[in-house]
Subunit: 210 residues, 3 copies
Amino acid sequence: MNISFVDIIDYVGTFAFATSGIRLASKKNFDLFGALIVGFVTAVGGGTLRDIMLGKNPFWFNQSSYIIITIFALLFFVLFHKYISKIGTTLFLFDTIGIGLFTVVGFHKTIECGFSLWVATLMAMFTGAAGGVIRDILLNEVPLIFRRDIYALACWFGGLVYLIGIKLNVPELITQIACATTVITIRICAVTYHWRMFVLRGHPRPAIAK
Amino acid sequence: MNISFVDIIDYVGTFAFATSGIRLASKKNFDLFGALIVGFVTAVGGGTLRDIMLGKNPFWFNQSSYIIITIFALLFFVLFHKYISKIGTTLFLFDTIGIGLFTVVGFHKTIECGFSLWVATLMAMFTGAAGGVIRDILLNEVPLIFRRDIYALACWFGGLVYLIGIKLNVPELITQIACATTVITIRICAVTYHWRMFVLRGHPRPAIAK
Amino acid sequence: MNISFVDIIDYVGTFAFATSGIRLASKKNFDLFGALIVGFVTAVGGGTLRDIMLGKNPFWFNQSSYIIITIFALLFFVLFHKYISKIGTTLFLFDTIGIGLFTVVGFHKTIECGFSLWVATLMAMFTGAAGGVIRDILLNEVPLIFRRDIYALACWFGGLVYLIGIKLNVPELITQIACATTVITIRICAVTYHWRMFVLRGHPRPAIAK
């Protein structure tokens, strides 16, 4: 097996996404297998939706690593759930690095399929953000990302950076690093400084609340 | 750019659908970007589901107008949300014209793909009705169309008219106009005269309540 | 028309699934047409999701029997809903036989498309379990199968039996019967003896809770 640096980031992101699904499932008293499914869907849901819209089979059909990582995340949670709130920051970093990468993969795959750049920015956003939305739907919650922090917008900005990089003929690797860095930086700033978008309906809050 | 009459109706319907998503998102205190996503998904969700089931790429991949109209609908809402309840009737008409057209497009696309006429009637219904269902799922509400007014049924009747038109070899344009007119008429009557379906479970209400 | 034994089981399972959707829809005061849609989606949702992920058109595009059975289930419910709790055991058996068959079909179709055996075990599970999840999402409930009884796990075990049968070169028909029997047996035992999975978050219950 030949594991590249990108693979490692992918796995780390998958682990963080799966853990977020399992963690929320545990708060709803899901059983072990239910939590496993929610974790898996959270981790691969965004990419699956992207692949279906692109007319491809889901990416995890060709690689068992994603389900294995989800099982590993479940075991990890069962063993260490008492300490998991203590490593919240680490998990947040994993998650953030994950969506940075997922955004890059989403953009890259879409233009590879021959679609236009603006479609790719939307697909980049979907890949990064849809997993969390599907998770919240399965848990019967209003999707968090529509209300808190800058999340989908960070993914979309990353896609925009990718688009600009291509338009300016920047080498693809540099474009990809810039894209991921944009997503990660916006996410970290948004959480650290409590950045919010304006909330609709007569209660506009300043972009930087605090 | 060459915009036909059908395009204009399509855009008007998209605007109305997007606005309905944005409006409900604002009641749940979604942020600006969350509302944009919900608006977009409401507008294109039904057609996207149809295209995926037909084995095609989503229709909005080839045309940026749908996302642009959604952004426009968001701006419109932000600027004029105080007056939006006053133009409720106008929005209802837009919405109704929209689902009339969406039903026609859903039927036409399905038979174009070579599927049978009864599949086309179902797809016509899905195209018109699924966007609202996806919107309500994202907002964590019980889908409205399952409980109030004649909605999906209107779309299905429109599909039936299309089917009959084809069986009788009526020219396609006339069939399409008849289909859209059926949907629009049923919708307007249903809302004006408070038509309801029988509600299940021992509390049957007359088809025309009041 | 040429109806095989498998078709009959398929129709019986579809009837049971549709009835479960209609029954729950009636508790939420859905109207007649809303209940019909929920019943249909419950019956065909899992298989549709499977077919989309496999890159195929939904199986019910080629056969009108599924929508006809759903309409029949709705009529049955409207006429006999007062007695439906009395035939709960019969419906449970129908449902159980149904998911046994759906699991077999899900596995078979996936390997037919050339995907690996572990993907087939997941697809077998999705085919059996996803319909109920989609139903609960439409009804705005936390999906039941994540919290109660052994359900998705039974489907997955059935898939595992299928996989082992193939690895050992057992004739396919015997493998399929063994797969369905596994699912059905686990489901019946789970419900009869109140088998539960461990619930997450510090409240582990014994696998057999009395």
